[in-house]
């Protein structure tokens, strides 16, 4: 037989002990293309496979395994008979020299991942592994291969393995016992639950349980820089699944959990409780019943007696809830052990609920709620007992504090009692007979002159909406709420709660709400009889009938000038898609309100609504609007008042269409002079923004270039006021940057040069905020702007090197503008990008922290530092020793209190850095903060006190 060349090459490199990867991939390709078969390969490697030296045999087996791996997991080029033979081959290699074992295991692992093993093979693989390999004497890597093989076999061939029955279980116990490696344990923890569920464990149940229960509770801290990323949580979760995987473990698991609950370690207790929670799902109630009492004692101790961390309290309550859920079925509910527990809990908690001013009231209510959750009969029982009790307690108290506690508790129980019920079956809930009296109580509370109690009452009433209130009841509630709204003393908090209640009502039954409530609300709103109604309207769900009603009522009354602002805001909230008619109506109304001189007070709000409506017009409607309006804007309206510019901006800047050709040319020509020469700043900025919005959408080409050329002469005009040209230039740059204009580079260069202007550089630096920030008026997604992804990062990465170059190479440059330009960008750049530049930027930024710098610059720099620190304090640890003294100086001598406060807050936040880094600075900080404690401003003193206390405690016991 002729040896194929690819195999010959493979043999050569095998003998020469060269790197095999190339030869391996060639051979696997030829097998994949069916030029040779795997059997040919094995036959041709016979001399090596039968070689006297184990090292040669090992290399040969390993090579075959690697080739097989390249073909896995389908192995479609290998026929079944070949798979049989190869499997047999690797199994037999397990009996060979111990050094060959890893290679053979590798091969078996690859084979186990295919679903083409013929019947019987899975069984033989597992038998071979269990018989011929002593798992725990292998290296971690090889043990892992064994476990993964078993996991694969279980996933694909579980029926076959089930035939092996207890032999498999025994083999697995032997292989897995005493495993220590966390990575391997994770695999094992995913195998055990499957085995526990699908195999008969007898007579090895206890042994099997022991194999994993010995790890409970997991105590594991991953090594620093752990490349494998196994966490304690993963292990805990895995082990929990094992312990709870079969009801057969109950007799061993329950004592174990109880023992851990008695431990002094909080983490052990939490783990035990979480495991108990899971076990309650899989164990049978008869197995749980004799332990109920024991577990309740432990949970009671954690929740009602000890004062604990939240984690332990939550875990305790969750476990209790799970325990209660296990006895939810009708026959289980009558279980004497559970009945006894219920009785005990009720009598204890009822006592505490009668003392609402004491601490234990709240935890007792949590205990009751835990029992209620998921156990309907217990919930009905508790609700029917406890709610009347709480109502009585409420009535005999007169102070606000205990009444608040009671209402809070009552609301939670009402919610629990109604959970899962609807209007149809609410009669079956335990709460249904109590509804009339509850309603009476809640309405009574609404009459109290106490905003907090009112709010709680409204929350409670909210639970009934759509479940427990009939139309008559609702009518009654609404009467009182409308009454409340008309009282001048009703607070914002109460109005907010009323709004929430109405929201629920409106969602539940829109037409009823429109008829009975909304009409009255609108009447009250437009007749100005009550405060806060507009706010309330703006918090209603924007459902079609509600919208129609609100819009028609308000649009008709826009003339009423004193409420106009509120009306416009409300219109803006309800204005939605494609309201062409409303858009035109509002647009012509807005134009009518304009006159010479000051702008109408409602202009801004009007523009807001127009913008929203304009942006939602279809592009056909938009084009039509442009064709009709541009001429009128330019010829009629602009002539009578310049305040039409903001309206033009709101409409033309937000439409899903752009003027073209002559229209565009004419428009730009008209706006150009306004951007720089108009005396009013608002008109100028508005004009700049509109021009920018238009430029942003014009396609690249001759038209755009000629517009830009003409604008460039404007902003480069040396005779014009620099302050005004900078503004135009900044907006144009923003428009070009967002669309990734092809000659952007030129603009950026110009920007950097502008920045170097000694008098106006700082203004340009402020412009960086405009360039990167979101603008509400235009150039955003809603206004159909042409925006490329990640334009901010691109700008930052382009600009920063140039700024650094300028700063380093020209000593006479405008340094403070440079600092400011960098600092102003920081807030907009994702942390990930910033971190890459951190080493170059931080020394520069630290120099900004100088009292001589403008306040705004200091504030934005400190804010940037705090932003960096919040996620990535390690990145700046290196610079802390130069940062801290500067912050201390600012904290004491900063000119404005905002600077002083922020410097102090930054000092407090530095506490997140490693104690080792901070300790050398401690005494200096404590000393230099003393004068700040006597700052003349109270707000500064507060920050100083926090900062100084934090630093004073640095490195002391009890503060980590």
């Amino acid at each position: 037989m002729v040896t194929p060349t690819s195999i010959q090459k493979l043999r050569d490199s095998l003998v020469l002990q060269e790197s095999m990867s190339e030869a391996i991939s060639i051979v696997s390709q030829s097998i994949a293309s069916r030029e040779i078969t795997i059997l040919q390969l094995v036959e041709n490697l016979q001399p090596e496979l039968l070689h006297q030296q184990a090292a040669y045999r090992c290399r040969a087996v390993s090579t075959i395994a690697s080739i097989l791996e390249q073909l896995a997991p389908d192995l479609k080029e290998i026929n079944e008979k070949e798979i049989d033979l190869i499997t047999e081959f690797f199994c037999s290699k397990l009996k060979d020299h111990h050094s060959i074992l890893p290679a053979a295991l590798h091969g078996l692992h690859v084979l186990s991942s295919t679903n083409r093993l013929s019947p019987g093979l899975a069984r033989s693989i597992s038998q071979a592994i269990f018989q011929d390999v002593h798992c725990q004497s292998q290296l971690q890597h090889d043990r892992r291969a064994i476990y993964k093989t078993i996991k694969n076999l279980l996933a694909l061939h579980i029926r076959e393995l089930q035939i092996l029955g207890q032999d498999f279980v025994f083999g697995l116990i032997q292989a897995a016992d005493q495993e220590r490696d966390p990575r391997n344990l994770l695999i094992l923890f995913s195998i055990f639950p499957v085995v526990a569920r699908y195999f008969r464990l007898e007579p090895f149940t206890e042994e099997f349980f022991e194999v994993f229960s010995c790890y409970f509770p997991i105590d594991f801290t991953p090594p620093a820089n752990d490349p494998y990323g196994v966490t304690k949580d993963q292990l805990c979760e895995g082990l929990r699944q094992c312990l709870a995987s079969s009801a057969h473990f109950a007799e061993y698991c329950m004592p174990l959990l109880q023992e851990k609950l008695e431990s002094d370690l909080v983490s052990a207790k939490v783990e035990a409780l979480k495991t108990l929670e899971l076990c309650c799902l899989s164990y049978h109630p008869t197995q749980l019943e004799k332990w109920i009492d024991t577990f309740w004692k432990c949970i009671r101790r954690e929740v009602l007696i000890n004062v604990n961390t939240e984690e332990l309290e939550h875990a305790s309550l969750d476990a209790l809830a799970a325990l209660s859920r296990a006895f939810a079925a009708n026959e289980e509910f009558k279980n004497p052990a559970f009945t006894k527990l219920l009785k005990e809990i009720l009598s204890e908690c009822q006592g505490h609920l009668c003392e609402p001013e004491r601490r234990l009231m709240t935890p007792s209510s949590y205990v009751l709620l835990a029992i209620c959750s998921g156990n309907a009969p217990a919930c009905a029982l508790i609700v029917s007992r406890v709610i009347p009790l709480l109502m009585d307690q409420y009535r005999i108290r007169s102070q606000s504090a205990p009444r608040q506690f009671i209402l809070n508790c009552l609301n939670k129980l009402v919610q629990a009692g109604l959970y899962g019920f609807t209007e149809i079956d609410v009669a079956q809930s335990g709460i249904s007979p109590l509804i009339p009296t509850l309603l009476e109580l809640y309405l009574e509370v609404l009459k109290e002159d106490d905003a907090l109690l009112c709010g709680l009452s409204l929350q409670g009433l909210g639970h009934f909406v759509g479940i427990g209130l009939n139309h008559q009841d609702l009518e009654k509630v609404n009467q009182s709420l409308l009454g409340l709204l008309q009282q001048p003393l009703t607070t914002g908090h109460t109005i907010e709660e009323i709004g929430r209640f109405f929201y629920k009502c409106a969602e539940q039954n829109e037409s009823w709400f429109v008829e009975k409530v909304l009409v009255k609300l609108l009447d009250m709103a437009v007749s100005d009889k009550a405060n806060g109604i507009f706010l309330l309207l703006r918090n209603l769900p924007p459902l079609p009938r509600i919208r129609a009603q609100v819009l028609s009522q308000l649009l008709a009354r826009l003339e009423q000038s004193e409420l106009r602002l509120e009306m416009l805001k409300t219109l803006a909230y309800f204005a939605q898609h494609d309201e062409v008619q409303m858009f035109h109506q509002l647009h012509s109304w807005a134009l009518k309100t304009l006159k010479e001189g000051d702008p109408p007070t409602s202009l801004e709000a009007t523009c807001g609504v127009l913008r929203k409506l304009a942006s939602s017009l279809s592009s056909e409607d938009a084009t039509q609007f442009i064709d009709e309006q541009i001429g009128r804007y330019i010829d009629q309206h602009l002539a009578s008042s310049a305040w039409v510019v903001p309206i033009m901006e709101a409409t033309l800047g937000s439409l899903d269409a752009t003027p073209v050709g002559q229209n565009l040319e004419k428009l730009i020509k008209t706006l150009e002079p306004l951007t720089i020469c108009h005396p009013n700043a608002d008109v100028r900025i508005s004009a700049c923004r509109l021009v920018a919005a238009l430029i942003n959408k014009v396609p690249e080409g001759h038209e755009l270039e000629s517009i830009l050329d003409s604008l460039r002469t404007k902003w480069q005009d040396p005779s014009a006021d620099r302050n005004k040209t900078v503004c135009l230039f900044v907006w144009i740059t923003k428009a070009l940057l967002m669309r990734s204009y092809s000659k952007l580079d030129q603009s950026i260069q110009e920007l950097v040069e502008f920045l170097n202007d000694p008098t106006h550089g700082y203004l340009v630096a402020e412009g960086f905020k405009t360039i990167l920030g979101e603008t509400e008026e235009c150039l955003n997604f809603d206004s159909h702007a042409n925006i490329r992804l990640m334009y901010r990062q691109r700008f930052f990465q382009e600009v920063v090197p140039r700024l650094l170059k300028l700063y380093r190479e020209s000593p006479s440059c405008n340094k403070s503008a440079c600092f400011a330009a960098i600092a102003n960008q920081l807030a907009f750049i994702p942390e990930g990008v910033l971190v890459a530049h951190i080493t170059t930027l931080i020394p520069l930024l630290i120099q900004c922290l100088n009292i001589e710098q403008p306040d705004q610059l200091i504030i934005s720099t400190i804010t940037a530092f705090m932003g960096l620190m919040s996620d990535n304090v390690n990145a700046i640890e290196e610079y802390i020793s130069s940062l801290v003294p500067r912050l201390l100086t600012l904290a004491k001598d900063g000119l404005t209190m905002d600077v002083r406060r922020l410097a102090l807050r930054c000092l407090s936040q530095l506490r997140k850095a490693q104690t080792v880094v901070l300790l050398p600075l401690r005494s200096e900080v404590i000393l230099r903060l003393i004068p700040c404690l006597d700052d003349k401003k109270r707000l500064v003193r507060r920050e100083a006190a926090v900062a100084r206390q934090k630093w004073a405690m640095l490195g002391q016991a009890g503060c980590d």
Binding site: D264, R301, L304, I305, N306, V307, N308, H352, E355, E357, R358, R359, L360, S400, A401, Q404, T896, M897, S908, I930, P931, L933, D934, K936, K937, R938, L939, R941, R942, A944, A945, V946, R948, Q949, K950, A952, M953, Q956, A957, G958, C959
Partner: protein, 158 residues
Amino acid sequence: MTSKGIENVNPQRFVKQTKREVTIEEKDESVKDPIDEREIFDLLRDISDPEHPMSLEELNVVQITNIEVDDHENSVKVFYTPTIPHCSMATLIGLSIKVCLLRSLPPRFKVEVNISPGSHASEEAVNKQLADKERVSAALENSNLLEVVNQCIVKSLE
């Protein structure tokens, strides 16, 4: 604290005050805000009780009416009320209050921390201890004691 030591499992609790509203004067750079009772109260209210995860305010241990401040005469007096007359934590609470004030008030102030008259069995002894500078600093040398004090204070800084 372990469970065995709890003396008052079910203490009375009180509603917390709302946050101090920032006034126009406080925002005005040119006005000097005097140190007042509420400012001292705000420093102390969130210190937690050594036994419970509740604040001194919630337990009514410190009340704004039991604080006396004289900004000109540089004196601050705080009277605190232990939850029960035999509370063995009284000294510890007093110590936490004192330490917090020493760390966060300008050194010109003379800080006195006392038990509200008639609210504790060994009132005099505790007052004497808290007034004695050397005993206070000696107590803070004890790392176990310092740990508990810091744990009480640390929550008020969040």
